[in-house]
Symmetry: C2
Subunit: 337 residues, 2 copies
């Protein structure tokens, strides 16, 4: 597994191939969206739970900046209990599932269908339950956010809200995969240094805003808590000043995931505060990574992918430093509840 | 201050008077809503930040269970940076502010007005900036959730979605204030016991669902973090199983705020899990408090007020046990950022 400057668990060819393959799904996505548009889309529900709910929040804020389409985020378990009267005939529900077997998602798809909604699913694992339930299916591993953003971008393009669509994706098709692999290489030694220091943290705070808020939420919960068994709290940068600031001491570990969309000023404000009060914060700023093949004006829309490249490397080093396999679960799918 | 069975910091007459006074705002609320309906309401934005954003989430889920009205929650700082194309002429923005001077809210009201929205504000403090900016104003202290729910209920009543409105409020007008005061008295010794044990917690988890999710979020952040300087993490019960469960040990302090609305099964599931794994969880269940003057079928809509009565008593005892005045801030409105 040792390739690319002897980085552990990094196969540059695999990394590039994975992103390039996701980008190559675009004609399939466009075809599905075209067919759904022909049927008529009244509104769009990005539905998920846990990490996929967080990805839904990321794509939702991406659209909110640009679009007047009626789109919202749905938590599958809340939908199952409380329902949502907006969801019905004409609703396109878009979801992603790695396993294809998440219980809340299976039940939610049934309820979506009963309500008259159509379901467009990105699934990583062939032959699983959700693959058989979706009205529209794309089977491909990883790159959840990229798949969601590609779908959102085409929906906005078709609504006349994204005139740059073709130019933007020309740049992504040509350069994104290699540029992201380069992020991982650039970030590796910093990530290793951070992991060595962070492995002894009793509690680590993660702060994000814009399309990095969902990233902060899922990175804290689905990676640190679920995979590393490390305690975390994540908070939206907008909310940081309405309570959480008071428990910040000089040595409190805080990680700020900073992007380049409209909400960047919110994380900048948190960083200004931390610079005064705290000596143990780490800023993972997409702006620190060049992405030479992507225009400046498009960076806000891919900042979460840049930061994901950095956190990827942190995970590898944290797993190594703590000698704790990220694939082991204590309770999930092991204990009945 | 020692009244009502010698409970510290509890004045039963004051407590009853405060809730009764809030309920007496109903004709004013109805009058304002009637005028706004006459102007035309296209959609309703519950806008806030921090604790008031959490209250907005509480009333939003209350409406979602019952209503087809177009209503959503807006975070003021996100609105200021990212905007929201749904907000414009015909939008009724409803907010609450204790201080009347929260900077994000002042800026948000300006932006709401520029967009053509109308602003209906509940403010605690007379003569403050926000009182001068609101199109519709109700000045009254405390009872934020009750004020919001009364407004939501009348909006739903006028939409034909709440036929029980008059009977429900007849019961609340007659019995809610005293029944809630009795909750505080009933809960006092348990709250004291809990506070004595919890004061040494390094990190306390709060879990909620339905109209108790916003309660868990704001209780953890605006009370424990901001006022008690205690570390917390809050999580929606739906999300608990998608990461957070893995860091639960036998001795991890967890508090579940359990209500009686459609999402009660979600906290029940968390409690089933905790009963197997953990020996340090506390369930604050609205169902443990009788509320003799309120019909069973209405309890789901006031469960958050019952639980608030319990957490009120916890706060009083935590303040006392830790000898830390809840009114002191380290940074908020003291440090520039």
């Amino acid at each position: 597994m040792q390739k690319g400057n002897m980085m552990i668990k990094f196969d540059e060819n695999e990394a590039v191939k994975s992103v390039q393959g996701a980008l190559a799904l675009r004609p399939q996505i466009e075809n599905i969206v075209d067919q759904e548009l022909a049927r008529g889309i009244k509104n769009i529900s990005w539905i998920g739970i846990g990490g996929t709910w967080a990805s839904a929040k990321q794509v939702h804020v991406h659209m909110k900046e640009r679009s007047a389409l009626d789109t919202f985020v749905t938590n599958a378990a809340e939908y199952l209990t409380t329902g949502d009267r907006r969801i019905g005939k004409g609703t396109l529900a878009i979801l992603s599932s790695v396993s294809g077997t998440t219980s809340e998602m299976i039940a939610a798809v049934d309820k979506l269908h009963e309500a008259g909604a159509r379901v467009f699913a990105f699934i990583d694992t062939p032959g699983t339950t959700l693959t058989q339930m979706a009205d529209d299916l794309i089977l491909y591993e990883k790159n959840e956010q990229l798949k969601f953003f590609m779908t959102a971008d085409y929906l906005m393009y078709k609504a006349g809200e994204f005139p740059d669509y073709e130019e933007y994706y020309r740049q992504l098709d040509q350069n994104l995969a290699q540029d992201l692999a380069d992020v991982e290489k650039d970030a590796d030694s910093l990530a290793q240094e951070f992991a060595r220091k962070a492995k002894d943290n009793k509690l680590t705070y993660f702060v994000g805003a814009g399309n990095l808020y969902g990233a902060a939420y899922s990175y804290a919960m689905c990676y640190w808590e679920e995979m590393h068994w490390m305690r975390t709290k994540s908070i939206h940068a907008a909310e940081f000043f309405h309570g959480m600031l008071e428990i910040i001491d000089e040595d409190t570990p805080v990680v700020v995931l900073q992007g380049e969309d409209s909400q960047r000023p919110l994380t900048e404000r948190v960083i200004r505060f931390l610079d005064k009060i705290n000596k143990n914060h780490t800023v993972i700023d997409s702006r620190d990574y060049p992405m030479p093949g992507i225009d400046e004006k498009y960076r806000g829309s891919i900042a979460h992918l840049i930061v994901h490249g950095v956190t990827n490397r942190i995970d590898v080093h944290l797993e190594h430093e703590m000698d704790h396999d990220m694939n082991i679960r204590r309770y999930y799918r092991k204990v009945e509840y």
